[in-house]
Amino acid sequence: MKRRVLSVLALALTAAFLVNGCGSTPQDGSTGEADTGTKTTDGGDSADADTGTDENADVQADAGIERISEEGITWNMFKGSHTCMGILIDDWNETLTAQQMEEKTGVHIDFTTPILGEENTQLNLLISSGSIPDFISGGVGGYEGGAVGLLNDGISVDIAEYLDLMPNFKKQLEASEFRQKEVYTDDGRITGLPIFFEDDEETEIFAGVLIRKDLLDDVGMDVPETYDEWHDVLTAFKEQCGITKGFVPGTTGMSQNNMWTIGYGFGYRDYWGSDFPFYQIDGKVLYAPVDATESFRAYLEMMEQWYKEGLIDPDFQSVTDINAQISTYSSADCGSCVTAYSMAGMLASIGSEFKEDFEYVVAPMPVLEKGTVTHEYYENGKIQLNAVIISADCEDLESALRYWDQYYTREASDLSCWGVEGTTYEVAEDGTKTWMDNITNNPNENFINMRYATVGTGYPGSFDVGSTMVDEFNIAADRLYREQGDNQWRISGNISLLEDELDVYNRYMPDINTYLDEMTVKYITGQESFDGFDNFIQTVKDMNVEECKSAFQSALDRYNAR
């Protein structure tokens, strides 16, 4: 699976980049763990999560940040970059969290910040050259086996062994069963320090299906819900507005989201292009082409029809990277896309140069019949693992553990989540916090960039979900998808494959992915006839897809048994 880690990570990065405007802050760096591009949550655990609520109350009454060293300690840290880096700040030490923590603990961190998008390569280089930083935040996805691999190879420390040195972290960890299930590996180890969300609340849904509002107005139609309605709308777009890129089913990277998201409504979770291709129903690992063959075929047949009718961008295969996506989605003749909401504003502002009222709105997942429940949406996890990984070579390990433990105090969590009261946020009388105007309403920079550049990002701790939900657009979209369905089919990103399982997966899956990418495109463009569809599926089976599935199945079973 690591073979696709880069693309998975790219997906995650892009997701994060789009959503949080962030390249590889540790939040996404945690992606490295079991190469989960997507922080996944197991919806079934919300009950467990609730039991933690009461205990959280006394966690909040903890002591403040302790001083770690009087004379001062300096450690170095590999910390992923962010889109605000180089524009608003040049060093993570310029952020409030870094400054205040240094003042209060006496610990100075020297940051090594890789180029955005180069985190994996850079970290691998550091590790292979033997100069392993004291703390690692981000980039572990490129390492074989991710964070678990680092632990197996003795590069990082198993935090579970040191819980006694970390009372604040321990308290947070033991606040709910859900947290323990996610944070501990199958064999009871802890790879790195996570970011919790208070009360294990659901985090934001950050991406979805967007459709051009201005065009809908022009043709006088409503936001489509079913495939038939989509077909009518796209046809109207084409005939009345001359839209040539009604739908853009990308073939690589983030743009593949289009392809698989639109397929949800057929009652299977799309094969995810080339990335993390499985889904699960009731604990059983499934792969759409072999386990939902008929739906998969129906989807491809529909796509072929759309392509024939000119509803699909003939250049859809060129939408490979983030730049191509931006230029395609913001062009006047693009009808719809699947992307992060935080992009919508940017796309509209570029698009308005071509058409004054260019605007995207969120559409529900298209389905076959109205009212169908979908089982997938784009949600950030309720826990983000491996915000910080501690190196086994770290000098004065005990102090280091104590230092990171401070981040789980209420004082530090507020600091790294919200910043400084009166400077970045305000507290209302009922105790709710809100961002101040300098963060949310900066005319030149978006909220995410301002927030991360001022407050800092990716520190471990227990965060307030309310700090992420500021945008009206996001809140409305979030509600839309939660009403439409759930997120049950996702396989938790926190499952971990054993080395031989990883070997099996890496041996067969990349070739299967290539084959599927290729065939999907051929079916859509009509290069391949559906007469041979059974052979195609048989070939997929012959390529040992079942063995890859069972590798995932055993990892999922172990996860469910935690």
Partner: protein
């Protein structure tokens, strides 16, 4: 003088011979943290995996097909250009033509391929011209049939000017008296070219050809990677692009080293064959 040679030898030692040690990876299950000396030895497993895998024949055949076609068309192109330029008498025009034909060579491959993609997508001017001449392409660059012609024609555009330099140099060293003698004997332009010019530059051509044979397995993989798309994998996926996907994108270093080694071995065999043939027919050879 030996001292000067030493520097070059050290250069090759460090940058060409030492890295060969890395080939051991092809026979191991390489792990970064264990390094070359600590990783587990797996024998020919990585090779077996490639040979038994579904893409072995396709990538091999594509590599050979693209390379040979490329050789067939883009190797003679600069020779023809050089000969034509050599016939020109107007210096100004000659210089202008030379400069224009050089220019694409100095464009970065990424930029050049970006242009190709733009020109050959559904609205690109090339697609439109071809379609107005009777073609019926939706988007040329993603069309299986159009990929190789696009690839080779753009290769010619990119390298023709630069590669013609060496032939121009060779042409200038052909003895002018031979031409005069040929003229007196009544040879026209064509006969002069055939009996004077061509033999005059033939040894350069053959050496260039042999050198070129060595690179045959490398194709021009950056260009392939920048231009291909899932619908053209059938004809465009070559061994090097397969290595790129496995090794660089997937981090499977051992496997991609093994495939790369296989690629080099084939390349080496091709050089030997080319060398042997040329030795037999023309006395000119590398070794």
């Amino acid at each position: 003088m030996y001292f000067a040679a030493l520097a070059i030898m050290i250069y090759f030692l460090i940058f060409s011979f030492l890295p060969m040690g890395g080939l051991i990876m092809a026979f191991q299950k390489y792990k970064i943290v264990k390094g070359i000396f600590g990783s587990r030895f797996v024998g020919l497993d990585n090779f077996k995996r490639f040979f038994e895998g579904p893409y072995f024949f396709r990538t091999l055949i594509n590599t050979l097909r693209i390379s040979l076609l490329d050789l067939l068309f883009s190797f003679p192109a600069p020779i023809i250009l050089a000969c034509l330029l050599n016939e020109l008498r107007g210096q100004k025009f000659k210089k202008t033509v030379q400069t224009i034909t050089y220019m694409p060579y100095f464009l970065s491959t990424v930029v050049f391929c970006g242009l190709i993609r733009n020109f050959t997508d559904s609205r690109g001017f090339v697609t439109q011209i071809v379609n107005s001449l009777g073609g019926s392409y939706e988007s040329m660059i993603t069309d299986t049939g159009a990929f190789i012609p696009i690839f080779i024609i753009t290769n010619i555009i990119q390298t023709i000017g630069f590669n013609s330099i060496i032939y121009l140099a060779a042409l200038s060293s052909v003895d002018q008296e031979l031409y005069e003698a040929a003229k007196i004997d009544g040879a026209g332009y064509w006969k002069q070219w055939l009996y004077v010019t061509l033999p005059g530059i033939s040894s350069t051509v053959i050496i260039m050809l042999i050198l070129r044979m060595g690179q045959i397995m490398n194709v021009n993989y950056e260009k392939v990677i920048l231009l291909y798309a899932p619908s053209t994998y059938d004809v465009a996926d070559v061994i090097s692009s397969y290595i790129y996907r496995a090794g660089l994108q997937g981090g499977d270093y051992s496997y991609s080293t093994a495939v790369g080694l296989f690629n080099s071995v084939i390349g080496f065999i091709l050089i030997l064959i080319a060398n042997m043939i040329s030795k037999k027919f023309s006395e000119t050879s590398l070794f």
